[in-house]
């Protein structure tokens, strides 16, 4: 995407490399982390705890987020880590049980930047995987 990353403020986080199971380094921009303050204490706590957990304990890792059917290369290198954290946080920051029927997704771009994370519906046939996982991603890596 042609960004100049040399001047960016970034926080490093370790993630499982689907190629060999070792840990490798991803980054999150400070700008993205700071934007969590607009969403409340629960969103801040979920970002601080659940993102790292899912990156290091994924139930599945998918690559190639489908975006545009007329460009077969688009989305290559973009990954989605999927996991089921043992807890969640309410809007005011209380630790609670994870929402039923949900998985937590963490999205990584092709420059190894974590750019989004959220709860998503689980697949009705496999509660550890996201809904429509068979059609929304090009490939399952783990």
């Amino acid at each position: 995407m042609g960004r100049d990353r040399s001047r960016r403020e970034e926080l490093a986080v370790q993630a499982v490399d689907p190629a060999d199971g070792t840990l490798y380094e991803l980054t999150l921009s400070y700008e993205r982390i700071r934007s969590m303050a607009l969403r409340g204490r629960g969103a801040i706590l979920e970002g601080s705890r659940l993102v790292e957990y899912v990156l290091q304990h994924p139930a599945a890792i998918f690559e190639g987020l489908r975006r545009d059917a007329d460009d077969p290369r688009y989305g290559a290198g973009w990954r989605c880590y999927c996991g089921t954290p043992p807890c969640a946080f309410s809007g005011n920051g209380d630790e609670i049980n994870p929402p039923p029927g949900m998985v937590y997704l963490v999205f990584v771009n092709d420059e190894e930047v974590v750019y989004n994370w959220r709860w998503d519906r689980a697949d009705s046939d496999n509660s550890r995987l996201p809904q429509d996982h068979g059609t929304r991603f090009r490939e399952r890596l783990l």
Binding site: M1, R3, L11, A12, V13, Q14, L28, S29, Y30, I33, R34, S35, A37, L38, R39, G40, R41, G42, A43, I44, L45, G47, S48, R49, L50, V51, E52, Y53, L65, R66, R67, D68, A69, Y74, P85, P86, C87, A88, F89, S90, G91, E95, I96, N97, P99, M102, L105, F107, N109, E111, V113, Y115, N116, R118, W119, D120, R121, Q131, D132, R136
Partner: protein, 142 residues
């Protein structure tokens, strides 16, 4: 429920995020993900993909729409501008109204006969208009 321990990453994340601030509807363009995220309400949410580019955010409490994520925004806007150069009138000072993005996406969908999909788009447009949401897309159509 199992609590997740704090880590060096989580501590730094909390430091960077800072204290939560009062919620106001907002939208942001994220360069790392080439996506526009729109939030109309502060509820904890889950994602529900409605097509290749748009994920609706629904409240975990009552399933009402609280926001959305539009992926591949730069590419989508460039395609729309190629097909309909007049779309540029919606881009002012590098900003585009989020309702216009939803409207353009709805007009371009090949699934216009899907009533539920079109109802969802209508709700998204109404929510974005009510919030007067805009996203800065300085590289596009300026």
């Amino acid at each position: 429920m199992t609590s997740l321990p704090s880590t060096d990453f989580s501590d730094k994340f909390l430091d960077i995020a800072g204290e939560p601030v009062s919620f106001t509807p907002h939208s942001t363009y994220d360069k790392d993900g080439d996506c526009v995220e729109f939030l109309a309400k502060p509820d904890p949410f889950y994602g529900e993909r409605i097509d290749d580019l748009v994920t609706v955010y629904r409240s975990q409490a009552d399933n009402e729409i609280v926001g959305a994520l539009i992926k591949g925004v730069k590419r989508f806007c460039e395609k729309v501008l190629t097909l309909y150069p007049g779309f540029g009138i919606e881009v002012q000072d590098g900003k585009v109204k989020v309702a216009c993005l939803f409207r353009a996406k709805a007009w371009a969908t090949p699934k216009a006969d899907d009533k539920m999909l079109m109802i969802t788009y209508r709700k998204l447009i109404e929510a974005a208009e009510a919030a007067e949401a805009e996203a800065g897309l300085c590289e596009i159509g300026a």
